[in-house]
């Protein structure tokens, strides 16, 4: 069972109509990812990394091909099913943190839990666990503007893992961070896959970041080259 891939991608294509021009962002991508892997997607700008990540995370839909996550073909889910699916199965980390400025760190982390049936005591407990995991146990009541970029990104990671999803996706999570903070963030993502058994998929174009992953994939013009 453990060897069963969590992500199965077959002949995935995605094209956009830019004016009269048909832009192909993904061109027949096939890919298997095993549970607990830390996959790093590399490649030049515009090669389709984000597009692939978005489709796997269920926030974008392919033009053709299939994306099976944990045995579910997510293309078959409707908008609201997909929303529920994301809430339960995917944690997002973005380049620009994307925390809600009027909420404290703890409240930001709690957001995805508001959609669950958990009691407020249970929610508080999970929030505390998640903040502890990213080393911000004592920063729960700080607002984003009172924290450094590295701390904000760690709050974002706590928000991504608070629902205990199987899959964590990160699109250039260190793109806005200094080397030290980037190292912290990457170490956390690495430990999530290594110690907590999460499947992590991260987009980056920094080879040093790629070293934290368990496997690197190269995209070029919408195709996997290595």
């Amino acid at each position: 069972m453990a060897a069963e891939p969590i992500v199965v991608i077959r002949e995935l294509t995605k094209s956009y109509l830019q004016g009269d021009l048909n832009v192909t962002a993904l061109n027949g991508v096939s890919l298997d990812i095993l549970p607990g892997e830390f996959v790093v997607l590399m490649g030049p700008s515009g090669s389709g990394k984000s597009t692939l990540l978005h489709i796997i995370a269920g926030i974008d839909r392919p033009t053709s091909g299939s994306a099976m996550i944990q045995g579910i073909n997510i293309a078959n889910l409707n908008e609201s099913q997909l929303a529920d699916w994301r809430n339960q199965n995917v944690g997002f980390v973005f380049q620009s943190f994307n925390l809600i400025p009027v909420l404290t760190a703890a409240e930001n982390v709690e957001l995805p839990l508001l959609l669950t049936d958990l009691s407020s005591a249970e929610r508080r407990k999970q929030v505390a666990t998640a903040l502890d995991l990213v080393g911000l146990a004592d920063r729960g009541h700080h607002r984003p503007d009172q924290m450094s970029g590295g701390q904000q990104q760690r709050v974002a990671i706590a928000r991504a893992l608070v629902t205990d999803p199987a899959l964590i996706v990160a699109d250039e999570p260190t793109g806005n961070l200094d080397a030290k903070s980037a190292g912290d963030v990457l170490a956390i993502l690495q430990s999530l896959s290594r110690d907590a058994g999460k499947t992590v998929i991260m987009v980056t174009h920094d080879p040093k970041s790629a070293a934290y992953g368990s496997r690197s994939l190269h995209l070029e013009k919408g195709e996997i080259t290595a």
Binding site: E79, R86, N98, P101, V102, L103, L111
Partner: protein, 381 residues
């Protein structure tokens, strides 16, 4: 944190804008309630058919100038006049009061009977009023206000007239537009004044509302070029002090109310659009986290509803408190009688606020429904 506190935090994130929105909704709703109350005040008489059947004829020079009592025989003969009585405003102060807080009129009880159209005798008998020349016929509101009962005496100190009155309450009426007035025998006033042979005004009843303009013209004409020319007008026109403008005023108030509502709509719609547009990226993030359209709609609706209802409540209840607390009748010398902010008017204001809340949520909701997560994430902060 709960979903409710999340909505509240979002709504208050731009405190100054939220405050300005609430204040403008409050002021506009208060203004609307005031305008509707004014409109009601001005339309009470036309709604009462009786008031358009009655005409008051006064001295053309001024209201304070009396008219000769002998005009009665001429007026009686004018076609279209069904009944006529002398009608003299006494303007006395009740008991120890230093202002005239309700009107007293000297009338001819027998003739006056035919001028009473609306309302009913609540207590006592009108015949007793006719038969007792020191009795008075009192409105139920005044009875209640002073805790009076049949048989009590009402003493008035004259202000226009250098005489005082001491009247016995013999009958009570109720159900007219204004249940406050006190009516007494004109003969009593004549005696006290030494029979000057004058009346304050004439009170006429016409056969139909359509006939009133014609009768008014005939009455005015009958005394043209005499030593006491008269000016006749319908009862309500007399009270309000203007005639033809009434229709225009209603139209004006209606238009101003519509403009108020429309402007208010622009304010709330643009506030909500701004509030949502600047949060597009966050809404996209919420979508990514698993929030569905339904939830995002309810956030937006709750926010716009909250702002509109809070502002609306402040405005509506503020106007109610203001107009209930102020004695407008005194301030306006009786021009505004009741200026009552009725539950119906308050409900209308409430409906407008709810309508604003819903309408201003529509366009942001559509924008959010269309928003794709990927597009939303690309929007710059």
């Amino acid at each position: 944190m709960t979903l409710t506190s999340f909505v509240v935090k979002n709504a208050l994130r731009n405190r100054r804008r939220a405050a300005l929105t609430i204040i403008s909704v409050a002021i506009s709703c208060g203004l609307l309630v005031t305008l509707l109350t004014l409109q009601r005040e001005l339309t009470i008489p036309p709604e009462s058919e009786a008031a358009s059947l009655r005409i008051i004829a006064r001295n053309k020079v001024s209201l304070a100038q009396p008219l000769p009592a002998k005009q009665l025989s001429t007026i009686e003969k004018i076609p279209g006049v069904v009944a006529v009585s002398p009608f003299t405003f006494f303007g006395g102060n009740f008991r120890e009061e230093t202002v005239t807080s309700f009107a007293q009129f000297a009338v001819d009880p027998v003739r006056f009977r035919n001028l009473i159209i609306e309302g009913r005798i609540a207590e006592g008998s009108y015949d007793d009023f006719i038969n007792d020349r020191t009795s008075c016929f009192v409105g139920a509101d005044t009875m209640k206000r002073y805790g009076l009962k049949i048989g009590d005496r009402m003493r008035f100190t004259g202000t226009f007239y250098p005489v005082d009155l001491d009247l016995k309450i013999i009958a009570v009426y109720q159900g007219t537009v204004d249940d406050r007035g006190v009516f007494f025998h004109h003969k009593l006033l004549d005696e006290l004044m030494g029979n000057p042979g004058t009346v304050g005004t004439w009170y006429l009843r016409v056969a139909s509302a359509e006939a009133s303009n014609e009768v008014i013209a005939r009455v005015n004409e009958a005394f043209a070029n005499t030593s006491a020319e008269v000016r006749a007008e319908t009862e309500r026109a007399f009270q309000m002090g203007f005639i033809s403008m009434l229709g225009n005023v209603k139209l004006l108030i209606g238009s101003v109310s519509s403009v108020v509502v429309f402007t208010l709509l622009l304010v709330t719609v643009s506030t909500m659009s701004m509030a949502v547009r600047e949060r597009f990226r966050e809404l996209a993030v919420l979508k990514a986290l698993g929030f569905r359209r339904r939830e995002l709609f309810s956030f937006i609706l709750a926010e716009s509803f909250g702002l509109a209802l809070l502002g609306g409540s402040i405005g509506i209840f503020g106007a109610w408190a203001l107009w209930t607390g102020i004695d407008l009748q005194k301030l306006t010398n009786g021009f505004l009688l009741y200026f009552e902010v009725t539950p119906r008017i308050m409900a209308t204001g409430g409906v407008v606020a709810v309508f604003l809340g819903i309408v201003s949520a529509i366009s942001p909701s559509i924008a959010v429904a269309r928003l794709s997560v990927v597009q939303g994430l690309k929007t710059l902060d």
